[in-house]
Symmetry: C2
Subunit: 363 residues, 2 copies
C-alpha cells in the first residue's frame, strides 16, 4: 500500500521529546526552541505561545473543532486523527509521498483538479480513469474543480464499496462543500466506507481566506501516523498564527451565518454569470449550471482546442482556463473552465463577449 | 544534476495566468480566487490582499528585503532569485525533491542536522562524509546544529572551490547566523563560489518567531525556477500574513537593535550554562564553548551510548538530545546535544546535576 520511501520514515526523536517537555517540572535541554522571553512582543490578542514552535499535528483546539465538524458529516475522525495542513495543496503532496512510486497507478476523474495531476505526476504516477481500480483513488466529488459537478448518491456509494472491496486508498478532496447553492445530499464518500483506508481533506481557503494557507485532513488509522511523520519532515508544522485566527473565526457565533451569507453571495454571482453566458455563448457552447463551487464548465459545440485561444484572449485582456489541461491524458479538446466568483458587473459581459468573438473567429 | 521526478515538472498554467491577471483592465475567469468582497473583514492594519491567494515566490517587498540582506553577506541573489519558504525545513524538502533519487549520494557533515538527514533519507539518499564529492553537498557551516561549531575561513574556501570544480550543488543551511556571541568571519560559502550551482537558506524562526513558519532561500539561476515550481506543487505559497508580519519587523528601525539585544541575551544564557556545565560535568565530558547558535555539544569521557540514557533522564524530568542521532551512520557514541536557550536559573543546575548522576551511574 505504501511507497518505497515510507521504509525510510522514522519519527523524529526531537519531536517525540517535544511531546513530553510540557510535563510540569520537566527541564528541557532537548529542543532548539528560542527562549520565550526572546520572542517579539505581540500587540494583538494572541497568546505568546503562538509565536513558539508547535505540534506537527496542529493546535489541539483547532483539531477538536475540525473533528466536531467532521462528525456532523458522518466522517469517523476524532481529533487525534485530524492533521492541520498548510493549505490543502499540501495534503496532496503528503498523500503522494505516502503512496506514489514511479509507475504507481492512481485513479482519477477525467477531467480533475489540475494541481493534483501535477503533484501525482511529479512522483511518477500513472493515471487510470475511474472506475478502474488503483492503489490510490483521488477525487473531488462535491462541486469539483473543474466541472463544478456534484457526484450522485449512487456513484458515491459505488465508489465507497469498490474501494473497500479492493482494499485500496480513497483520497477525497473536499474544498468546495460549503459553497452550496441548491439543496441536495452530498455526504462524503469516506462516510459511506465504514472502515478501510482513506484520507479526507478540507480547506479554509474558500470559506475564510486563502492567504493564510490553512487546511486539514483526517485519515483512517492505518495512514494517519505516517502522514504526520511526512508532514513533520515537510514543514514541521503549520503557522500557529493562521491556526489561531481560523479557530477564532470558526468557533465564533457568526460562523454558520457567514457560511450562509457566503453561499447567498456566490449564488447571486453564479446566476448573473449564467445569464451572461446565455447571452454571449448560448449558441456556441453547452454547460450545466453548477449547484456549488466556483466554476462553470463549458463544452464548445465546435471542438476547437482552447489552449491557443488563451494567448489571444490574454492579448484582449481576458483570462480563462483551457479545459484540456484538466484531462490526465490531454483529451477533452474544446472545453473551458470559467470562474464566476472574481469578475463582476460589466467586466463579465465584456469578458464573455470577447471569448465569444474569439470562438467565432476559429470557425 | 536533477532527480528523475524533475522530468515530470511543468509550471502550472493557472499560476502563469496569475502572473498577468493583475494587469490593468484584465478580466479574469481563470483562477479559483474567492471574491475579495467575500473575504473576512480584518480588524488589524493589514491590507485586504494579505487574505487572498498570492505569488508562489513570496511577497515582492519581502523578497526585496531578503535580497538586500543577502547582498550585505556577499551572496549573489537579486530579489527575483529569492523564494519565501514556509519555514526552512521546507527548503530541505524542496532541495531533496530537486536532486535526490533513490541511491543519490549526498555529502554531509558528521554529525549534522538530524531533520535534514531524515528528509534526504526519505527520498532515498545515500550519505557520504565530507569532504567526499557528491551531486549534493548539504551543510550548516555557521554555528551548526548539533555542534555549534563555526567552520573556518580555509575550510569554507576549500568547499567552495571543490564544489565549483566538481560542478555539483552546494546547499548551505544558515539559520543561526545572527545568533553570534564572538566576533569572527563567517562569510557564507556560497558567497565564495563566484558561480556554480547553489542553494542558500535562512530562517526567521531564531531571530523572530518560529510559530509563524517563515524562512527563505536563494539559489543559482540554473536551480531557481525549478525550486519555485516544486514549491508551487508543495503548498502553492507561504502564509501572506506571516510574510507581512516579518516584513514589518525586519523593515522597522528597531531590527538591528533587536538582533544585538538577542545576541546579548543568548550570550548571557550561554555563559551561565557554560559555568553550570563546568560545575556538574567538568570531570565527565569535554566541549567547546559555542561562538553562536543555541547548542553545546558534549563528548563524554566514557563512551556510553546516550540513547538509553534519555528514557532514564525523562523519568527524572530532564530532556536532552542523544548525539548519536545526528550521525548519518549511527557512529558518534557518547555524545549529547544540550540546548542552552530554553531552561533558566535553578532548572539548569538541577537538570545538569541529574544528567551528571545518570552518567556516573553508567560507569
Amino acid at each position: 500500500m505504501f511507497s518505497q520511501r515510507i521504509e525510510g520514515l522514522r519519527p523524529s526523536p526531537i519531536r517525540s521529546i517535544l511531546a513530553v517537555i510540557d510535563r510540569p517540572g520537566m527541564v528541557s535541554f532537548a529542543g532548539g526552541l528560542p527562549a520565550t522571553d526572546a520572542l517579539p512582543r505581540w500587540s494583538g490578542d494572541v497568546e505568546p505561545e503562538v509565536l513558539q514552535y508547535g505540534p506537527t499535528e496542529g493546535e489541539p483546539r483547532l483539531r477538536a473543532a475540525v473533528a466536531e465538524h467532521l462528525r456532523t458529516l458522518g466522517v469517523d475522525a476524532p481529533a487525534d486523527r485530524v492533521l492541520i495542513l498548510s493549505g490543502s495543496q499540501q495534503g496532496i503532496d503528503l498523500a503522494a509521498k505516502l503512496v506514489v512510486d514511479p509507475g504507481t497507478p492512481v485513479a482519477v476523474e477525467s477531467p480533475t483538479y489540475l494541481a493534483a495531476l501535477q503533484v501525482f505526476r511529479f512522483y511518477g504516477a500513472r493515471f487510470v480513469d475511474l472506475p478502474a481500480s488503483a492503489p490510490l483513488t483521488y477525487l473531488v466529488p462535491t462541486f469539483g474543480n473543474p466541472t463544478g459537478a456534484c457526484m450522485s448518491d449512487t456513484d458515491r456509494d459505488e465508489i465507497a464499496a469498490r474501494v473497500r472491496a479492493d482494499d485500496t486508498v480513497l483520497f477525497e478532496d473536499d474544498p468546495y462543500r460549503d459553497l452550496v447553492y441548491e439543496p441536495g445530499d452530498r455526504t462524503p464518500i469516506v462516510a459511506r466506507m465504514h472502515g478501510g483506508s482513506w484520507i479526507y481533506q478540507g480547506s479554509f481557503s474558500k470559506t475564510f481566506a486563502p492567504g493564510l494557507r490553512l487546511g486539514f485532513l483526517a485519515a483512517s488509522e492505518d495512514l494517519f501516523a505516517r502522514l504526520v511523520m511526512i508532514k513533520q519532515a515537510t514543514d514541521l508544522h503549520t503557522s500557529r498564527l493562521s491556526q489561531h485566527i481560523v479557530l477564532d473565526a470558526i468557533s465564533g457565533p457568526d460562523w454558520p451565518d457567514r457560511l450562509d451569507r457566503l453561499a447567498d453571495f456566490y449564488r447571486d454571482r453564479r446566476d448573473t454569470f449564467d445569464a451572461a453566458l446565455h447571452r454571449h455563448l448560448g449558441d456556441l457552447a453547452t454547460w450545466e449550471t453548477p449547484k456549488g463551487g466556483l466554476f462553470f464548465w463549458l463544452t464548445l459545440d465546435r471542438r476547437v482546442d482552447t489552449r491557443p485561444l488563451l494567448d489571444q484572449a490574454i492579448a484582449r485582456n481576458v483570462a480563462f482556463m483551457p479545459g484540456e489541461e484538466f484531462f490526465p491524458d490531454g483529451t477533452g479538446v474544446g472545453t473551458m473552465r470559467l470562474n464566476f466568483s472574481h469578475a463582476t458587473g460589466d467586466d463579465v459581459d465584456r469578458g464573455l463577449s470577447t471569448l465569444a468573438e474569439l470562438i467565432r473567429e476559429q470557425r
